[in-house]
């Protein structure tokens, strides 16, 4: 069977062939010239690709070494960013892995631009505002609402500024994770026929199941209707799309121009400007990992990554006039959202053609 040489070659490259398979491969290579050629080429390319892709996850390697060093006080810090850059001319995929940042365990490094913190502002229906922070357990929000919500019909609003994040539970038991620069409005009691909320920015929702009271999300001019499900919606005014990503259950997204019913693993993109719909299968982790404290990008233009970083760290990121083209670079990568911005930027700079000029809270990207 023709695929056999491919299977064996790939198994060999992973170093996981059994003795029997290795003998089978050996016999094949001895008797079949074509198989021999294919195998050698695959093995060469495997080495080449792995060498190009290395380094990866040095942090773990360092941890292993560190753990076995006697009397060592050095601590590695979790910081991993894999980024892939591609030229604007050919739509290419590129991946870089960033080496971990090291520092002495004793003196913590100055955190000039720290990551987003748990903070939000709750505005009650009567206009009163309450600052929410780590002091208030996000889960106690419904208690807070129950005690303080006035008997007015106006909705409550929770706003997370740039450089913030917040997770809490709505009065109906649905759980909400709000990303930086995002807002949700909701009735203080979900007593109506529908549970209707409005979202600006990005949120991940775990909607409590209640078939009698559909959960409706208005976001960026589109409307998502759900029964009980987990999904992510991103509707930043400065981004042209409303992006709905379904993890579990089923949702219907309606907007001028059409509707889409999503199955788990599917995503709808609605272009606000031309009202075009697109539904596609995606790696949901890419769109939901932010909830778990991870930035995950795949083939994402640098311009969009800059937007995300800007919101999370509450900074301005712009491209130098001669480096506008870098905005089209496609990156693929993963990094800890708890890293300082400088850590991320310096590692990107080390491994790409990009350089970052940090002045206060303004960052200019230029090419090296």
């Amino acid at each position: 069977m023709e695929d056999r040489i491919y299977e064996l070659a790939a198994g060999y490259c992973e170093g996981r062939l059994s003795k029997r398979e290795l003998r089978e491969l050996e016999a094949l290579l001895r008797t079949d010239g074509r198989a021999r050629r294919i195998f050698t080429e695959i093995r060469q390319m495997d080495r080449h690709a792995k060498a190009c892709a290395f380094p990866r996850d040095h942090e773990r390697a360092w941890k292993r070494i560190e753990g076995r060093l006697a009397g060592n006080r050095i601590r590695g810090r979790r910081m991993r960013l894999a980024a892939a850059a591609a030229s604007a001319a050919c739509v290419a995929l590129a991946i870089l892995l960033l080496v971990p940042k090291f520092r002495d365990g004793g003196a913590p490094q100055a955190r000039s631009i720290p990551p987003a913190e748990n903070k939000a502002m709750l505005r009650l229906g009567d206009g009163r505002t309450i600052q929410l922070s780590e002091g208030i357990s996000p889960d106690s929000l419904d208690n807070l609402l129950a005690c303080k919500a006035p008997a007015v019909d106006a909705p409550c609003t929770i706003t997370v500024a740039r450089g913030g994040k917040y997770a809490f539970t709505l009065p109906d038991g649905s759980r909400v994770w709000l990303n930086s620069d995002s807002q949700i409005s909701f009735p203080s009691d979900f007593s109506g026929a529908e549970r209707a909320v409005q979202i600006r920015g990005e949120a991940f929702l775990e909607v409590a199941h209640d078939a009698q009271h559909p959960f409706i999300v208005d976001a960026g001019g589109g409307r998502i209707r759900v029964l009980g499900t987990r999904f992510n919606v991103s509707a930043y005014p400065e981004e042209g799309h409303v992006v709905t990503t379904l993890v579990e259950g089923s949702v219907e997204f309606r907007a001028p121009g059409g509707r889409a019913v999503l199955s788990p693993g599917e995503q709808s993109l609605w272009n606000r400007r031309d009202e075009r719909f697109e539904t596609r299968k995606v790696d949901i982790a890419l769109y939901t990992s932010w909830v778990e404290g991870v930035f995950e990008f795949e083939s994402m233009p640098m311009r969009q990554i800059a937007l995300q970083l800007a919101r999370w760290y509450d900074v301005e990121i712009t491209f130098d006039r001669d480096a506008e083209y870098l905005g089209e670079y496609l990156f693929t990568g993963v990094t800890d959202r708890n890293a300082n911005l400088e850590d991320i930027l310096s590692k990107i700079a080390e491994t790409t053609r990009m350089d970052f000029d940090v002045r206060g809270r303004t960052i200019v990207i230029h090419s090296k």
Binding site: K50, H58, A70, A92
Partner: protein
């Protein structure tokens, strides 16, 4: 470049003499990657290569700390990596074709390991070419090569069998080689 390395050697030698564990950090940051690339010339599995490098680093620290090092730390470490890699390859004779691997290793350019720029250029080219692969092949390759995922996990991620992953990966490599038009081993 040469001076920088000499400075690095001196810095490490002093730290080593005082038994300062920061020494290992300096070595790790300076040479971990090139040392791994060097080991990867002999060992097909990246994990095996990293194991070798880590053992070399640890035994260097355990045997040499407390005394200043005379000579080039860098040269010493790289020679140790080559020696250990060959030994590891022979120990794994049941999994690999030792002769073939040694032949491939000898045909590749050791200087490339220490010249990040070479890999940088090759990587950009590789990445550009990856974009041209069929979806399944590209996905398998990205997971395996760039995310270092075991085939088993890739299979789960892609919802296909392990054998299918192997076929995707191997075909991706064969196709890539064609697209990239690579001469036998790195030029």
């Amino acid at each position: 470049m040469g001076n920088a390395l000499n400075d690095k050697d001196r810095e490490i030698s002093v730290l080593l003499g005082t038994g300062d564990p920061a020494c290992m950090r300096v070595i790790f940051e300076a040479w971990y990657r090139p040392m791994c690339l060097c080991a990867m010339r002999y060992l097909p599995s990246v994990q095996d290569a990293e194991d070798v490098v880590q053992s070399v680093l640890l035994s260097f620290w355990n045997n040499r700390r407390g005394r200043e090092f005379t000579g080039s730390v860098r040269a010493y470490l790289f020679a140790a990596v080559v020696k250990s890699s060959l030994k590891a390859l022979r120990n794994k004779a049941g999994r690999y074709f030792v002769d073939l691997e040694m032949q491939l290793a000898e045909n590749s350019d050791p200087a490339a390991d220490e010249n990040a720029g070479i890999y940088e250029t090759m990587r950009l080219r590789l990445e550009a070419c990856i974009a041209g692969l069929p979806g399944n092949q590209r996905m398998a390759l990205v997971y395996i090569v760039f995310r270092s995922m075991p085939y088993r996990d890739v299979a789960r991620e892609m919802g296909v069998s392990v054998n299918t992953v192997k076929t995707h990966y191997a075909r991706a490599l064969a196709r890539l080689r064609e697209i990239m038009d690579i001469a036998p081993e790195h030029p």
